[in-house]
Subunit: 299 residues, 4 copies
Amino acid sequence: VHDRSAIAGIVPPVATPLTVTEDVDRAGMGRVIEYLLGGGVHGIFVLGATGEFPWLDDRQRATAVEAAVDAVAGRVPVIAGIAEISRRHAIANARTAYAAGADFVMATAPYFGSMAVEQGWILEHFRAIAGETGAPVMLYNVPPWIADISPATIATLAELDNVVGMKDSADFIHLQDVLARTRGRNFRVLCGIEGHLLGALLMGAHGATPSSANLNPALFVRLYEAATEGRVEEARPMQEGASRFVQELEAFPSWFSLIKAGLHLLGLCGPTVAGPLPALTADETERLRAILVGYGLLS
Amino acid sequence: VHDRSAIAGIVPPVATPLTVTEDVDRAGMGRVIEYLLGGGVHGIFVLGATGEFPWLDDRQRATAVEAAVDAVAGRVPVIAGIAEISRRHAIANARTAYAAGADFVMATAPYFGSMAVEQGWILEHFRAIAGETGAPVMLYNVPPWIADISPATIATLAELDNVVGMKDSADFIHLQDVLARTRGRNFRVLCGIEGHLLGALLMGAHGATPSSANLNPALFVRLYEAATEGRVEEARPMQEGASRFVQELEAFPSWFSLIKAGLHLLGLCGPTVAGPLPALTADETERLRAILVGYGLLS
Amino acid sequence: VHDRSAIAGIVPPVATPLTVTEDVDRAGMGRVIEYLLGGGVHGIFVLGATGEFPWLDDRQRATAVEAAVDAVAGRVPVIAGIAEISRRHAIANARTAYAAGADFVMATAPYFGSMAVEQGWILEHFRAIAGETGAPVMLYNVPPWIADISPATIATLAELDNVVGMKDSADFIHLQDVLARTRGRNFRVLCGIEGHLLGALLMGAHGATPSSANLNPALFVRLYEAATEGRVEEARPMQEGASRFVQELEAFPSWFSLIKAGLHLLGLCGPTVAGPLPALTADETERLRAILVGYGLLS
Amino acid sequence: VHDRSAIAGIVPPVATPLTVTEDVDRAGMGRVIEYLLGGGVHGIFVLGATGEFPWLDDRQRATAVEAAVDAVAGRVPVIAGIAEISRRHAIANARTAYAAGADFVMATAPYFGSMAVEQGWILEHFRAIAGETGAPVMLYNVPPWIADISPATIATLAELDNVVGMKDSADFIHLQDVLARTRGRNFRVLCGIEGHLLGALLMGAHGATPSSANLNPALFVRLYEAATEGRVEEARPMQEGASRFVQELEAFPSWFSLIKAGLHLLGLCGPTVAGPLPALTADETERLRAILVGYGLLS
């Protein structure tokens, strides 16, 4: 699926199921992806932050991409995260992911802790990845964790043939600015903030990567459909509902652990997160169960 | 005009014209307001940040409100800023502004430099102002300059009879959250970020307080009309145009000085800003003139 | 006492006692100052942040300076804070304070909330205050609440005849840089961070303005004496003790309220702080009492 | 050299020389270390941030440690950085480095971009590394790039037999607090901020890890000697000189590139930095040459 127009709709950043020894659980990945496709999602983004990419080593990452490609089996596009701190390492990741069958690869800006990174470095980082791999590349913008990729940098990169789109988790003005600067290029923009979803679609975004869709894919698929079919009056309370769902989840101490615990409650995989991320406590897990029951995801 | 439903549409935070000795220029205020009303604006907000309230003393502030009320002469509502660091001082400001004929008063959270302020203090600050003055009060949220008023705090305050609305310059999710939590109360929400304007109106906001409307009121009035009349396809490029206009202005070193220099170029008042705000240089002023000519505001 | 060499030693930023109606309590100010002088302090700084200057209006401030000057009665120098957001207002404050008998006046950089302020504005702000008042001016550096005054700006200002010193609450490198750049000018540097006190004195600072000295002046006076008399081995555990004292106080929710509550426990003035600052709860007050008893300040 | 008392004095974070293809240059590492030992340094810290650890992969890191151990040949202790985002990866790094002959290993807090990390996670991260490897572990504190390790967390970790010390690049109060809380445990504290060096030693720190000592080791060795031999009056201007040296270097756009360019000018290794770090321009290199000549490091 190398046609960039396939990048659209709800594309969750799928969690990476782990065994208790923190090896990638291929069967668990298969079950989670089946759950998401059953909820109607339009693509799978493997090795995003929700997929715990920062805490996985090269072998774990390669296995995760393979498992996702196998499970999806061509039904929807697979976008593979390849983010790394160094250029050399990110390029190696891209080659591995592309060889494993990912349709698109997605890299962040280079980063080290909260060290400031200049737009010039970011531009060269993506240019090198696109130029040396030839793979269809997406930009993964996730400030403030990683330096914000400026709309001007994005517009420059969008002129490259194989820079095909982005996931934008920056503020609403940034997203609108990107849309304005890339209009006419079929540069695909996925909104990375659940709360921006309806507004972003109304402004022209092509889809979204809601992390909480791991637990409730249908909620976001329905909202996407209402928005793209012009049923705005209906979509507005659906957006409110989606925002409230996210707010309830954000009350937990660690997002990554929460998503894994939720998938465990749904019977899809184990609750293990990569250390030093902490597991949910028993109390927190019960609180989460009540939320999932309240949304009809569990009985 | 004490009916809160009058709070709607484009309500610019009008600049406060100053003489060279930094006294309030009443005649200049009259000309600027006539220019804004000529552009079709639906209200006047005097003594916002653009009105340089932080740099004006009590006498200057009182004069500015009087001048605005006189100039508007009841044609549209007048909202008067009363922000101060201390509760006692903000209450005194509110009494002065209300006595001078302002229809609504608008206070920020208490603040001192970038000192952290807790929601509990904010709640009590507004409660005291509303309770002790009886005036129709609006909340003025302008993070990160001043501590963000949380949606929960706003929802609590919106239950008070004379807390009638707010100006929200926080992020897009904050604005949506406020709308969701105050639905059904006729709590009036004005969007304070130019780039959020169309999105905010589509989500249910009642209007906006674009600072750059001081120079180009009609641009925002047309956008507001397109959005509220359901012409979304038409409104989207208008929003892009408005965002671009703001971006061009934001390239100048001081926003306050820029607005004043623009009003001076338009022949409405002098370019003086309150010290230590710097004046625009001659070069910057010429650059600004070219922008205003480009938008057809000057010939 | 206009000789700048008098600026040395422990110079606490004295709290401003308030009546329940938030008027300045002149008698209370007298008792607090007597307590501080009894503890051996070498100067009084009235209307610092601990003196709640941001929350006091012009009349309250004038009264506070008068009360401090009267109480000190020439025994040690009086430094009066004159900080304000605008230049015009700061200059007016300086004139009032100097006329009331303050020996030195001390201004912050201009500020408004956490708005960024450029060094050029800061330079002009202080130049205007020094030039238009002729008073002996000190610089009051209190980042991150108010924009950091750079060592280069300070060095430029230190060349003016009536810019005589500063209170530096910036980081340790900033303080050292100021000392290096002003060496040979008798530019008086008071350290504003309790935890830096011994290090700062060893590096050449002239004194300090410890806020917690309001409650425990002798602790800091003894540390100052040990450091300046070359008893470094003895001073090191005294610094540890002073740092621990501050840490215990910093565990309370509001510094200003804590200092006032402490002075109330010591029988010197009422616990009232300017709204919207909150009062200590009864529980917090009892916890504070235990601390003061532990340090032998109360029995 | 497993006696922790050997951790003292000037221990530069040695740069990692790279070939043009970004492989580790073992011979270059040998020359740089010889230069540092010739300048009198008391230890070598390989794979600190200055050693570009974030941009090197596992193979490059292993080679760098081996090269450093070989070059030092037991003359001074070798501390090897093992920082990684995940616990599993950091433990693997520690085993590799310790097997390669490093005397001590040093880990940062876990991190991912500027994501907030709780003290509980940090504590468990270090506990796992110390417990599972048995190696003598040091804590590497480098805020704000990576989450600050609190003095309380450090004190808890210092109770473990094989947690032997730390490098503290936090603020001066943090360093003093660590010294106060670990007194009597022979917990070795190296100061990571050049500008804090003299103050830190006077307060009881055991040494320092000045990054700029890569270019000018003797400057810091002399300052260390003056401070530890009680010649404080002499040390103070030496500290000023060291601070000025660092300030001159900090004016360059990228610290890493600057250190490499300097080592290249000194004839010790190539100027290559790991992508996406940028190389110095020719102009910048000439500016750097002039600085090195000015300090007598080049002729």
